[in-house]
């Protein structure tokens, strides 16, 4: 029966003997466990039932008041309303329907409502509280508190709903709170309280952990009828801290007003040094107050069905081909790789041929000979086709990511999109096909697979302007330690300087595509870049005005100012707005003017990143 090396019989015998010994030991141990369980659960059951009922310890979880959200100048954007609520813990109430009946003498509880509560209590843990009524005044509570001894399990506590101010302007940034979804429940037991609300979008969502505060608890000894015999321990909840945003409500309102005439648009204003977002506009807007706690289901349904998606924050979730604004990336990548030099001139005949495929320049008659400066100023496509081809997609994608594209930022705001910076690895993984040279050429002018959000474009602008790896941030340093001085970018200073000079030329030199961004008054210059990104294939063949609105090009403009000592960066995207130089540029110009106009009001000091500038009181001037 055995194989080639049968075991010595004493081996097997020893194993069996010892295994038997251990088996007997284990049987003894299990018997001991069984006996002990018998003792606890059968013999002494009555004693422990008594202990459990007469002298048990209850631990109640207390939720903390949610932190408020304030704008840069302490204007309140989100707060908690005054109000009280009545709750009941079924396991402490004894007979739930009797207690509810008694309670209905003091506050109106309909028959239907009572049945609903009883039904609900049966389906969940008896120790989870149920909400009987909320948004009550102190007067309404007084009588209930008076009769508390005859109302076991009933609690009254202070707790108001979330309130939003200036919601029309700030809705996309602040976001809103909503009921906790089952899937979102984490180990924090406070989330199982029925009144808990958590941030869904915006800063409410992005800073949820901080705003929620730290839960507290009450440990008390209670008897069988839920009466508290004595309090053993109370840990006070720690309220969520107030968050001060980098956003300026007044500026935000002005930016939105400037964009009001368009159907869908977005604009972002950032501080180029600190990354603080001063305004972040998305058109159309909505007011989260109208949909809070589903008080008005019709308003919610309308917003959800609306054709222009007002619920979406286009600044962080709108994905657009960056168009010619991407030439900043292609140009810088080529200069850094040394595949083109600043002096080298390339000929533009109005068309560019690569493997029998013809790629047109936007200017059909061509730009003749272009060096880097002229190509950037006049946005010559042919020059950047060639620059992209020479440099290759990997190096371009690397530069795009270095300047902030294709990524989600830890900016304190929820629901960002990362967009896409394509490269050969990505395409192989996504489609299983190799990258084609023609795709590099299209990507080089910000078309093809490339997609970005307005926030990312603003970050790119900041990084070019400051030479620092600036990260966007919506929460000020005092309330969040996350705002830090950025590290310098690893890009040659000489190439960066040439790029900046070319960006000034875009706005201020003859032939520049962004001349309509020239400041109307003021003694500063703007550096910028236009972008016109194609939506459909057909659009290049027809005049824009002949196309249906949703087939027209997107209009983009990014810029920073003052050009010599950069302070602010602006990115503007007008969906289907036509040419970047025609539509977006003058808007960006106006936003820059508004921002500089608001500038003297305690700017440098408030970010805590003023770089040695004198600290002055930061109140409204």
């Amino acid at each position: 029966m055995f194989g080639q090396n049968p075991e010595p019989p004493n081996d097997l015998r020893s194993f069996s003997r010892r295994a038997l010994l251990l088996g007997i030991t284990q049987t003894g141990l299990f018997s001991a466990l069984g006996a002990r369980l018998y003792q606890l659960q059968v013999t002494e059951h009555n004693r422990y039932t008594l202990l459990a009922d007469e002298n048990r310890i209850s631990v109640e979880v207390l939720s903390a008041p949610r932190g408020r959200i304030l704008d840069r100048f302490e204007q309140v954007l989100a707060a908690n309303a005054d109000g009280y609520r009545i709750t009941i813990v079924p396991s402490l109430a004894g007979k739930l329907d009797v207690v509810l009946q008694r309670l209905s003498r003091f506050i109106p509880i309909t028959e239907v409502e009572r049945a609903r509560l009883v039904h609900r209590a049966r389906r969940q843990s008896p120790n989870l509280p149920l909400i009987i009524a909320q948004d009550l005044t102190w007067e309404a509570l007084a009588e209930i508190n008076l009769h508390a001894p005859s109302l076991p399990g009933v609690r009254t506590e202070r707790a108001g709903r979330r309130q939003y101010f200036n919601g029309d302007w700030m809705g996309h940034i602040v976001g809103y709170v909503g009921a906790v979804e089952r899937q979102a429940m984490d180990d924090d037991p406070v989330l199982r309280l029925p009144w808990m609300r958590v941030g869904k979008t915006g800063v409410e969502g992005g800073m949820e952990r901080l705003l929620r505060g730290t839960r507290g608890s009450v440990t008390s000894e209670i008897d069988a009828r839920g009466h508290i015999l004595r309090h053993l321990d109370r840990v006070e909840p720690k309220p969520g801290p107030d968050l001060t945003l980098t956003v300026d409500v007044v500026l935000q309102a002005k930016v939105l007003e400037r964009l009001q005439n368009f159907r869908r648009a977005a604009a972002v204003v950032m501080d180029v040094q600190s990354g603080g977002v001063l305004a972040m506009a998305s058109i159309p807007t909505y007011d989260p107050s109208t949909i809070l706690d589903n008080t008005d289901p019709k308003a919610w349904a309308q917003l959800q069905a609306a054709i222009d998606d007002p619920l979406i924050n286009r600044a962080t979730r709108g994905l657009y081909p960056p168009g010619s604004t991407f030439k900043i990336i292609t140009g810088l990548a080529a200069l850094e790789a040394g595949t083109i030099t600043l002096k080298e001139k390339l000929e533009c005949s109005g068309a560019y041929t690569f493997f029998d495929q013809t790629y047109r320049c936007w200017k059909r008659s061509g730009h003749d000979a272009c060096d880097f400066h002229k190509a950037m100023r006049e946005s010559c496509d042919c020059y950047f086709y060639e620059a992209a081809r020479r440099t290759g997609m990997d190096a371009i994608a690397l530069m795009a990511r270095k300047l902030g594209l294709g990524q989600i930022f830890d900016a304190g705001i929820a629901q960002q999109k990362s967009g896409l910076i394509p490269d050969p690895d990505w395409k192989r993984g996504r489609f299983g096909r190799p990258w084609l040279g023609g795709e590099t050429i299209l990507a080089g002018i910000g078309q093809g697979y490339v997609s970005t959000t307005p926030l990312q474009l603003a970050v790119m602008t900041c990084r070019v302007a400051s030479g620092l790896a600036v990260n966007p941030q919506l929460v000020l340093a005092q309330t969040s330690p996350r705002l830090q001085r950025a590290q310098p970018l690893s890009v040659s200073a000489q190439n960066l300087a040439a790029l900046r000079k070319a960006l000034i030329a875009v706005v201020h030199e003859t032939g520049g595509t962004g001349q309509r961004a020239q400041p109307e008054d003021g003694d500063y210059q703007i550096a910028g870049k236009t972008g016109t990104s194609q939506v459909g294939r057909a659009s290049s063949e027809m005049a824009q005005s002949d196309l249906a609105w949703d087939m027209r090009d997107h209009s983009l403009f990014i810029c920073y100012a003052p050009a010599d000592t950069p302070k602010y960066a602006v990115a503007v995207v007008i969906e289907h707005g036509g040419g970047g130089g025609a539509t977006a540029a003058p808007i960006a110009r106006d936003i820059i003017a508004m921002t500089l106009d608001r500038d003297p009001i305690g700017r440098a000091t408030r970010d805590g990143l003023g770089g040695g500038s004198p600290t002055e009181p930061a109140g409204r001037g």
């Binding site: 081996d11 659960q41 209850s58």
Partner: protein
């Protein structure tokens, strides 16, 4: 039949392998795991999130692992025993450097969303490597001092490493499991008696060096009433919960004691308390009965296999299971001090579940290939 022929490795076809898989083992495992799902559903106040759903998923994955491992030839496990143990040992050694600290102890390794407790893996790896060790040592040699010293050294190193995390509970368990395999391998009884004497002697030495929380756990174990709201709180609350459950229990989601938030680890180490309160004496005995059945199946499997390695492997896995159940249940009913040990297949926790399934897979593999015998020279480059 072909497995009794002269060739040591008559290769089994897939269908005959599948036919030899101990399906009763898998059925009982699933039954115990399902009790875990139900308990976790109840702990969450009648919700699948956040524990029950994931537990069910892990259970399903675990069963697939058992079946998959059962099909792997025995030769592979022998060859892989040393590398597996060395990796597990290295992982545990990495914990003090890269581990995450919770409640004053470093026990977890994290990589992105995954985090695991390498000390759990070490238990199985230790059984595997010990079984392999004795496969190639003649019975007469096993009690010679030199041949006893080597496994003792390995067990000692593993125990010390875990004890320093600090995780005294797991360290004691690892030592116990290692010694059990040595005992079953036939090492002379005198060594174990000497071991016992040394442990008692060491106790005198270690006691003053224990952490305060460990001391107080032992002290309040001896007299839980000493501090009913402090360290003895868990034990006395656990006993009240169990006792008030009575014969038939209070019903799912209705355990008034467990559902109150007085047990901080009620979804992991104290899940038996909750189950026993809600399902009563009938329920708790049924659960214990299922564990006994599982152990009995493993015992039968061990008696039918053909080589030393397989036998020790199956017995070692059974030992891991038995020790965990005994210590966990003993703890929650106040027979043993509170040491953080999960209840196999029922407590929430990915590492514990995965490790046990891995062990059961090894046992199943040993059983499926029970006709195989192994010679050292056939193992090739791995050894």
């Amino acid at each position: 039949m072909f497995q009794s022929g002269s060739r040591a490795y008559a290769p089994l076809s897939l269908s005959s392998k599948l036919g030899r898989i101990p399906w009763s083992l898998i059925v009982v495992t699933l039954a115990i795991g399902s009790i875990g799902v139900v308990s976790l559903y109840s702990v969450a106040g009648g919700a699948f999130a956040p524990w029950a759903d994931r537990h069910a998923l892990r259970l399903a994955i675990g069963v697939i692992i058992v079946v998959a491992l059962a099909l792997v030839p025995l030769r592979f496990w022998i060859a892989a025993a040393n590398p597996i143990f060395i990796s597990a040992f290295a992982l545990v050694a990495l914990v003090p450097i890269f581990g995450t600290t919770t409640m004053g102890a470093k026990r977890w390794l994290s990589a992105g969303p995954l985090s695991l407790q390498p000390s759990e893996f070490l238990k199985i790896a230790l059984v595997l490597v010990s079984a392999r060790y004795y496969q190639f040592i003649a019975f007469e040699k096993r009690s010679r001092p030199l041949y006893v010293a080597l496994p003792m050294l390995v067990i000692g190193a593993a125990t010390t490493l875990i004890a320093r995390q600090p995780d005294l509970g797991s360290a004691a368990l690892v030592a116990l499991i290692g010694l059990t395999v040595m005992f079953l391998a036939g090492v002379h009884a005198a060594y174990f008696i000497a071991c016992g004497a040394i442990v008692i002697g060491l106790g005198q030495y270690i006691w003053p060096r224990l952490h305060d929380y460990q001391k107080s756990r032992v002290m309040t174990f001896l007299n839980p009433e000493r501090d009913p709201l402090g360290a003895g709180y868990h034990i006395s609350q656990s006993k009240i919960a169990l006792g008030s459950g009575g014969v038939n229990g209070k019903g799912l989601i209705n355990g008034s004691q467990s559902q109150l938030n007085f047990l901080p680890e009620k979804h992991t180490d104290f899940i038996f308390t909750m189950f026993a309160e809600e399902m009563g004496y009938v329920g708790s005995m049924a659960l214990l009965g299922l564990y006994v059945l599982l152990l009995a199946i493993l015992a039968v499997m061990a008696s039918r296999v053909n080589c030393r390695f397989s036998r020790l492997l199956i017995a070692g896995v059974a030992a891991i299971l038995a020790v965990h159940v005994t210590v966990n249940v003993g703890m929650v009913i106040g027979l043993i001090p509170v040491v953080g040990v999960p209840l196999p297949l029922v407590s929430y926790g990915g590492t514990s579940m995965l490790t046990l399934m891995f062990g059961l897979g090894l046992a199943a593999s040993a059983y499926v290939h029970r006709g195989d015998t192994i010679r050292r020279d056939e193992l090739g480059v791995f050894v």
